[in-house]
Symmetry: C2
Subunit: 176 residues, 2 copies
Amino acid sequence: MRKLKIDELNRLSISDFKEQEKVPIIVVLENIRSLNNVGTIFRTCDAYKVEAIYLVGITGKPPHREIQKSALGATESVTWKYFDDTQKAIEELKQNGYFVCAVEQAEGSVSITEIHEQEFNRLALIFGNEVSGVEQGTINVCDVCVELPQYGTKHSLNVAVCAGITIWESFKLLSR
Amino acid sequence: MRKLKIDELNRLSISDFKEQEKVPIIVVLENIRSLNNVGTIFRTCDAYKVEAIYLVGITGKPPHREIQKSALGATESVTWKYFDDTQKAIEELKQNGYFVCAVEQAEGSVSITEIHEQEFNRLALIFGNEVSGVEQGTINVCDVCVELPQYGTKHSLNVAVCAGITIWESFKLLSR
């Protein structure tokens, strides 16, 4: 099995990426502290044709050297927008017909493996701060809480890993 | 939907984790440069009851302050072992009946969505260096190459995100 060279990966140009049809997912990053996590999530959103990233509150914005180090250019391909407040972002998402999910461990949260039982055509996924998670005030106005089942001693995946798995599962669901 | 408190998450103690049955997956980290990535992958392996992590070559080993910052204690729960050379790790894995997968974009690689079509009871997943990927010499002795489909401009997920999605998919397959 010969490892593929970089020019054999069928990578899209930035302009082809901009023009291609996206998967109707918007990722909302609420008060993400680590610029490394922000950049890493940009790269995942590039890979899975996410429509846009909404950066909220203290979450860092491009252009930023520390975001660029992990985004590796994905800040140029993926559309993003800044909001000072999550409530305003959710208001816009609901007006545009998005089903709004907080990704958080909460009472009555739905497992990511059961998300297909919810009804939606467009999905917004909200990820919260590395320490405090999605704010309770944000959860209160979401349509649902979705969580990744976890079986270990921590119950706390890194937020970029949690976003990776959640975006991947949502991509599979919505790109059918 | 009330956010759960930390004592409501049913987190296992380290000793209960050690005693619980694991999912027959061993994660091999070949020449991973970033200690942050190593620690993040420890945390994912804790969440999905991975049997062990094999750290190979230049990959950092616990105890290390930089690994601890992202592992948040998962180096205490997840079993790990160091090898200076991937060939030795693979030899041991094959002797113990593991089906050995390089996670890499290669000619004839199988999508993670089709991995269930392979036959195995125990799975080893090899992740390579952030820049150069899994070594060709390693790929040559693996049973299969598995890859995550990607649709953007980069075709290069962060290794901890790639490991997260691959471990999650393998967990779902082998914990049934």
